[in-house]
Symmetry: C2
Subunit: 432 residues, 2 copies
């Protein structure tokens, strides 16, 4: 199956990784891949032609840190401080969640993400096989993991969850490799050292990615140093061998200069979650410094409980604005840099070098953005209009792996009314 | 003419100014006013009934600081630092603007604002009668002003612009009082003391509002103190008598504790412009402290050149997130407080106590927000979902003065394709 997109602007990637704004070109998709970008005259014949007049094609957004099924807890405990929020609002509901709830919550999350142009997501949540099933069925790309937790160095307790983490990674099977299982440590503060070292060892063997929360709050960062002879979370994780393989670290609000050096050397990624960090008042992550020192930086929404949405366009906008103002330098965090954080950098963090840019041979993970509304005109700079003016609702088509999953308000793989009714049933039970 | 809205949630205001979320109620509009909010059974007969199933009615948003015609300069000079941005990117284009350009730019701005739920706007820009004409024709509510500038204490130069400022206030005539002329001082740094004192005197006589930029950048704030024997902009303006009448001050990023006391005593308003302050890296305004000390606080978009949009829902979201994180306190800047900043507080700043809330007897400035999309469900708290999840595009109806100006993508008073073509012609000329 081949499809040709014509009459649109194309935000492609050139040979040296730079964005190219192509007007008067077409883009062709063959099966799951981008087959051609260029003049229409030289374009291969296609089964289907899509006239995208008034739209722009760009790479789908990569949400590099999420907890999708938390749609069932959207905004719960809003306005509470972090610890009280977790203990009085979030944990009591999460304790009641069944695997089926998680699958429904994830399906609803995928609907929101597809409608807003996200084509790839990192999902850290329990019952990952159910999260994964919702992802597989709906067609989105992403990574899943069993949340690595251990509250005791007692051999028995961490071993239990360790086996489950490894089992998921070994047994998860998606023939399309769209949904991939990886390792996860919740954080330094919710895992014991023996557990962390065993995950590191398992990952050295299995060569997956590791997803972890790092230095989200000052409290967590300071207490880690107290617990581990002055080692910060990054330093401690490095000591335990976690950073030896590809690791992406959500938040990184309180990382120190030495941490940044380690992250650079170990090729770890820092995932910025601007909305969530602000809403929970955790602080402003030193993203400009991380990027400047050569650390790969990506963007995520975090869970909707602390966001309260999965709107990546909003995160892009916020990321750029916060970095500029925190650095007191309007020249920082250009729209191009921010777009890379939210596409190719996120894909790289998740071990997916085959997506995140519009380039021949890459996965056809493509979104179309309408340039039609008043707020999108005039567009003197395409990256600027996307980062500073676009709304998630400007997305009019979302394609993953060469398959259109969302188009003009219609979900191709999700029965939205049934899912809403399922969500409603879950909510009645969970909050009764 | 009477209209009844039924089958929707209503975000009304109770006796003590608190928000009330009404389900199973109707709202009736008679001519320009809200006539009734309550049970359908007791509702007066209406000429027209609108079934708003799946939507929420709330007060229209008040954009308390804008420069609408700058749609013609959307994002121009993006990424430049403030001074270079103004001098190399903005001023050279603004010099070429004709009155007709301004009218077209404002019409395009109004389209964007109506589509995003703004019903009232403060417009500070030159050729104000042309801005005002676009506002009058399109039906939006707002204040206009001749930008008060004076570069010399020489009697002749400031007098020229002074006369124009007074002339606009005296001669502007809108029989509906929807568009109202007020006084404006650009700022302390672009006006001379004799001019400031004359505007203060004129306003003591004419009892209008004054719109002014205050302490937007540290440079401006510090240089003011150097110029005026240690007086900050607020202290200097107070000395000149400007704050004796109702004044609203855009930005207030660098105001000091003494300034806040003066603003409180003089009942001045601080208008927060979070996107613009971030994009230009001007700093984070101490909005929580201003509010806490009893100063009226409102929200504005500023011009699209430094935003790059007129999306008030985004400003609400950003305002709340920034205040929480700057204060390192997640309990600050609740959704309710933010909604008030963006409605009744802004209306009050603009001298318009007759709008900004859904209450019987108030102006029928009402918007309908669709609760239908994935990101708007579940909605455990109505204020929270509006501030943290809603997108401007969720607005499905915008009514001003009892007249529907925008509904389901359609502009009732703007020929959007003609205006786009007019914009395009202006742009070709301005940027040639």
């Amino acid at each position: 199956m081949t499809v040709k997109f014509k009459n649109c602007i194309i935000l492609a990637t050139g040979e040296n990784g730079e964005f190219q704004v192509l007007k008067n070109c077409v883009l062709c998709v063959k099966d799951k891949l981008i087959e051609y970008i260029g003049d229409e005259a030289s374009c291969p014949a296609c089964d289907e032609v899509k006239d995208m007049r008034g739209a722009l094609l760009m790479p789908g957004l990569v949400n590099a840190h999420g907890h999708g099924p938390m749609t069932l807890l959207r905004g719960v405990g809003g306005g509470l401080a972090l610890q009280e929020w977790l203990e009085t609002a979030i944990f009591p509901i999460e304790e009641k969640l069944t695997p089926e709830d998680v699958e429904i919550g994830e399906r609803w999350a995928v609907a929101e993400m597809l409608a807003g142009g996200t084509t790839c997501v990192s999902e850290m949540y329990d019952f990952p096989a159910y999260t994964g099933r919702a992802m597989t069925e709906t067609g989105i790309r992403g990574n899943i993991s069993r949340v690595g937790l251990s509250f005791s160095d007692d051999a028995e307790i961490p071993a239990g969850r360790f086996d489950e983490c490894v089992k998921l990674v070994k047994e998860w099977n998606d023939p399309d490799d769209r949904v991939r299982a990886e390792f996860c440590l919740h954080s330094e503060y919710l895992t014991k050292e023996s557990f962390v070292r065993r995950i590191a060892e398992a990952n050295r063997e299995l060569k997956k990615t590791v997803n972890i929360h790092v230095s989200e709050t000052k409290k967590e960062h300071v207490e880690c140093k107290e617990r581990h002879n002055g080692l910060t979370p990054i330093q401690y994780l490095n000591e335990c061998g976690i950073l030896d393989e590809s690791t992406y670290c959500a938040h990184c609000v309180w990382v120190e200069d030495d941490d940044i050096e380690i992250m650079k050397e170990k090729k770890a990624t820092a995932v910025y979650n601007p909305s969530s960090n602000c809403k929970l008042a955790s602080g402003f992550a030193p993203i400009d410094k991380l990027r400047d020192k050569g650390v790969n930086t990506a963007i995520g929404t975090d869970g909707v409980a602390s966001n309260n949405n999965l709107n990546m366009f909003e995160e892009l906008h916020l990321a750029s604005l916060l970095i500029k103002n925190c650095e007191r330098d309007a020249t920082k965090a250009t729209a191009e840099e921010i777009l890379k954080m939210a596409t190719i950098n996120g894909a790289r963090a998740m071990g997916r070098s085959d997506t995140g840019e519009l380039k021949v041979g890459k996965k056809a993970d493509i979104i179309a953005v309408s340039m039609d509304k008043p707020h999108m005109f005039p567009a003197f700079s395409i990256p600027d209009i996307l980062v500073y003016s676009a709304q998630a609702s400007d997305v009019i088509m979302t394609m993953v792996d060469g398959r259109i999953l969302y188009e003009n308000g219609e979900f191709k793989t999700i029965d939205i009314e049934k899912t809403r009714a399922d969500m409603q049933s879950c909510i009645v039970r969970l909050y009764s």
